[in-house]
Symmetry: C2
Subunit: 337 residues, 2 copies
């Protein structure tokens, strides 16, 4: 494995399918806030990839680009430290992806476990858009064009990193030179945040989420709806902590872990009402989301400044992508002049 | 169907997999020579597509770009009338293709009869590169980016036109506006030139071709090897004209069709030696290819001029492609500024 330089380059991002929620905060945003202290991560707003996901619902995608950018700024992603870019504003990503399409077989894409499980979830095994089946190629192009070396991912995204490195190795072998660099996964150590209904992970499409822009009332309503332990019928009876959504949330967001351990013991023993743990969680979430919502509203007052930040970020990222594509095309002899 | 203007725009081209041969001359180059009198065709050197075909044999592709350009000039394609462009030099084609990938399903691509038969011929049904399965999308992007309305094709390429128009309709429906225009096929009325061995069509991969740059000796050798009628054992015995490669070539290239009809009658009746019809064909082909070879050698003396012509053609085509992509991205709301 050969890096062209010894510097760590973090590349991460989101498909822009809608505003972000607490699941994103627990799963990736907190990691990014840590990473931006010592690295200058590229954070990619994957609008083109979102189109594949949404079968061309481009109005939704466009709005989501703005929404996700506002969410980033609201949680503390700092454009001075992180480079936020819009995928479609760096056309070299599409161009590199186009070349990489020759370096991976259809059969290999169909075997990609991440793609397979996403297709199963969508019930689209047969009628999948070509752009969806090939999105691992697009992702490989995004990562390598920006010369990413460290990619924060959840466990379910590991096959994407593997596929990226396969493409990189195949390209380098083809041109007989290490033009592109392989990358490593940075596995997030958080467990996935469940939805408020306790059915699988939190996701907007399942409607079991709490948005980062949720109002105070939204938060209270969501906490009240939360699944605890269906067998915890009286306050006095012992309750289950495992699979109890309220405790999962407290584990993820309550800074006082000693207090949580104490509450869990009490709940398991019996004598602790659901209303008590829900009240605590409501307090924790209000304290977490309140300032995010306020900062978000502040940033939303000046959409031009947000767009300008995205323009700068995209232009900055483009410099790197142009250079990579130049190396790729030179190695392939595709400059004729 | 809505054209943005009433002008006919011809788009055609070749995958740059190697120098052209007589099969190309009979099948497409003659049509282009006619078309360039009244239209200004775009002729695309599909180098990126050739990479998919050649599984990344980029050295071959690069050389073929120059070879095919020389062949064009040698047969009389005039850069003042025809715009010759290199696919990879108009990155907007890759970008548009990337967006179009969301408008066609994998199942639909797998059903494309042209792709299916090409895959069968390559014996690659299972291990096809993603870039090959999706090449109809790339072709649709090429045609529509250049605003092609009339596409000269052989019968076997009709499914590509159909697929292009499907993508166009789907895009226009999606954005609720006729941004892209549909195209029509201009079916070539020539029958496919057989290979000199009479086994299927002429193709370089089958080794049964006569290159447009063939030397005088090459031509004579190829004509001598040509398949006539295996049952025409003596001069006096009646010979078959159907499936007789020499007569197929005479039909395609001998300007004196009355004389050919006479020779055919005589051959069928008996009394005409293979050597006589071969001598005539040799003469016809020497007269056809001789000047092409000479002009080719002339142009090859100044490769910089050829490259400069390709640079200008690509830049000119790029103006159109940039404009189309601008309309596409605007319609999709993908300009954020």
């Amino acid at each position: 494995m050969s890096h062209t330089d010894s510097q760590t380059v973090v590349v991460t991002g989101d498909r822009t399918t809608g505003p972000l929620h607490l699941g994103h905060f627990a799963g990736s945003l907190q990691t990014r806030l840590n990473l931006q202290q010592n690295h200058n991560p590229f954070i990619l707003l994957a609008d083109t990839q979102a189109l594949a996901d949404h079968q061309g619902d481009y109005c939704k995608v466009r709005q989501a680009v703005i929404d996700v950018a506002l969410d980033y700024l609201a949680v503390g992603i700092d454009p001075k430290k992180s480079t936020i870019l819009i995928q479609s504003m760096v056309p070299e990503l599409a161009e590199l992806s186009f070349y990489m399409m020759n370096l991976v077989s259809v059969a290999r894409l169909e075997r990609n476990p991440t793609v397979k499980s996403e297709l199963r979830a969508k019930g689209q095994e047969r009628d999948v858009a070509a752009g969806f089946l090939t999105y691992p190629v697009s992702q490989a192009a995004d990562i390598t064009a920006l010369r990413g070396t460290l990619i924060p991912v959840g466990e379910d995204q590991l096959p994407m990193i593997e596929q990226t490195n396969e493409i990189v190795r195949r390209f380098n072998r083809m041109v007989g030179e290490n033009i592109l660099n392989e990358c490593e996964a940075l596995l997030s150590n958080t467990t996935r945040l469940p939805g408020i209904d306790g059915k699988g992970k939190m996701s907007r499409s399942a409607g079991n989420h709490i948005a980062l822009s949720a109002s105070s009332d939204d938060i209270t309503a969501a906490v009240n709806k939360m699944y605890t332990d269906a067998n915890h019928l009286t306050i006095g009876s012992p309750g289950q902590v495992e699979g109890n959504v309220v405790f999962s949330f407290l584990d993820a967001f309550d800074p006082d872990s000693a207090k949580i351990a104490e509450l869990k013991a009490q709940y398991q023993h019996g004598g602790l009402a659901d209303s008590v743990i829900k009240a605590r969680l409501n307090e924790v979430l209000q304290a977490l989301i309140g300032p995010i919502r306020e900062r978000r509203a502040e940033f939303a007052k000046d959409p031009d400044a947000v767009l300008s930040m995205l323009l700068c970020g995209s232009a900055k990222a483009r410099q790197t992508a142009v250079l990579t594509l130049h190396k790729v095309k030179t190695a392939m002899g595709m400059y004729y002049f």
